[in-house]
Amino acid sequence: MHPLVRWFHQLGSPPYFDRFAARWAPWAYVLGLLVMAYGLWAALFQVPADYQQGDSFRILYIHVPSAWMSMFIFGLMAFYSAIALVWRIKLCEILAMACAPIGAAFTVITLATGSIWGKPMWGTWWDWDPRLTTELILLFLYLGIIGLYHAIDDRRQGARAAGLLAIVGVALLPVIRYSVVWWNSLHQGQTISVFGQSQMDASMLPPLFAMIVATKLWFVGSLLARARADNLRREAGKDWVVRMAQERAR
């Protein structure tokens, strides 16, 4: 058997996955933090202040990567869910459900930083800007998936139901986005989108790339940690869990 295929099969074994996640999560966290350290330092101290927005534009280096992560994680969650529903692979169920709280966290960061950035720009804490509105609806989708997963006693059934919701959500997300953009043009006229400047000077890009990479690495670490926790909860009562609990100091 091809070693990669064999490795995939091995990951499906709960004790093996537990060891794998316990081993690699710290590395992902540390690597992510290192890249983040550079990214944040450069965002705060190296990049010159924006001509129009002054220092507040530094919030972009948190806001944009978080927004992209909130979308990316949702798509990944739907992908894992699709595999879990079609092939009934337990590990994919666990990974899909572990994505949800992380995605929700990034969505909260996006909304909060968007709101904080908007205050000096628009003079108000909230604006029904299409992007923020879509982000808010995305948060409700995340919360719905997390709520549905925890409302069902049987973990496998809960993961499959929440996974189906994730797939429906990912299919509807473009529709929701389009409808909100249309609604916005209808009622608010042309909003000057503060976050729309895609022509960023080249000198301003490296911290953005760094933060994008850093948040992805952080996500991997967090995903492994949360998947490990869910794995342990599902396997509670099995011998290997007991043995491991007694071996480890914590």
Binding site: L44, A105, W218, V241, Q246
Partner: protein, 60 residues
Amino acid sequence: MSYLGYVVAAYGVFFVVLLWDFVAPRIDIARQLRAAKLRAARTTAARPAPDATLSRTESE
């Protein structure tokens, strides 16, 4: 206009949320392992030594 407060607030939110994201699974894992240890201790305590109850020849 001083943007310091806003930048601090935004970066602060970022740190706090990521901190929660880091701590929550660790607490969860620790709780699972502790529960497993306690469960194991309960079952070994509840299960008495085999010879004490099953053998009738001694007490009879």
